[in-house]
């Protein structure tokens, strides 16, 4: 079984272009929403987890902790998150969305649902097969990063 380079471009190039296209799609779909695309991803993690540490957010988003910290500062400046004591670790804290944070997320979610419906319905055969293959790519990217990082040390 050989890899199918239908053109001269690699699998990683395809992933890059997919990122570009989805960013464009989200920009159109969220044009009138209160949150931008990447903000919506960050808010969604706090929303889904209900109360979450910045470290756990960084893991779920595969985002550097410093970038998460920038978002947390932005969300705090908007009054969209607040800190509560972490019952499992007194040295750390948990973030929760405030009422206005939940409203920004909910108002953006309405636009996001339209984006998702348009995207999902344009996938031949539906989401199931693509999510299975995406899961392989997600895990392969993580493994390859560890392998290359090990090789450098």
């Amino acid at each position: 079984m050989t890899d199918p380079p239908s053109d001269g471009y690699s699998l990683l190039f395809d992933v890059f272009v997919l990122g570009q296209r989805v960013r464009h799609l989200m920009a159109i779909g969220l044009a009138d929403a209160p949150l931008r695309s990447e903000e919506y991803a960050v808010y969604s993690v706090v929303f889904e987890e209900e109360a979450v540490t910045p470290t756990a957010m960084a893991a779920t988003l595969s985002m550097p902790l410093t970038t998460v910290a920038d978002y947390v500062r932005l969300m705090e400046s908007r009054g969209h998150v607040r800190r509560i004591a972490n019952p499992r670790d007194r040295r750390s804290y948990l973030l929760v969305l405030t009422a206005s944070g939940r409203k920004a997320h909910r108002d953006t979610n309405r636009a996001f649902e339209r984006v998702h419906a348009a995207f999902s319905s344009a996938i031949p055969g539906g989401e199931r097969a693509v999510r299975r293959e995406l899961a392989k790519l997600l895990s392969a990217a993580e493994h390859a990063s560890l392998e290359l990082a090990d090789a450098r040390t």
Copy 2:
């Protein structure tokens, strides 16, 4: 057939996280290479096409023309591309890599090939199935963008 929300996150969230992970993987893999990840994608299009208009680059990369123009200026400032007359359209020009541009691409390609090998070999079952599903996502993102853009006008 229902969609499989193994957690509360959407397919578009998975695509976002894949972009984050691949960006991280490329940053590790190209740490000592002359070009950064996104630069390598742009140089690769000029390399593969041999002579290409900025408009065609924008289409292949799914990148705004203004962003391509920024990259072209950067590449020109480094002496990595030059303009030649477009034999098919006297009002436009084609970009080609210079000798030093080809060297920067080639030196980065050595690191990229290691990234690609680590990534590809970490995909259970190999690249074929994932590239087929990626092609569906690429086309779905394009269709959904057109649909949402039409709905706004």
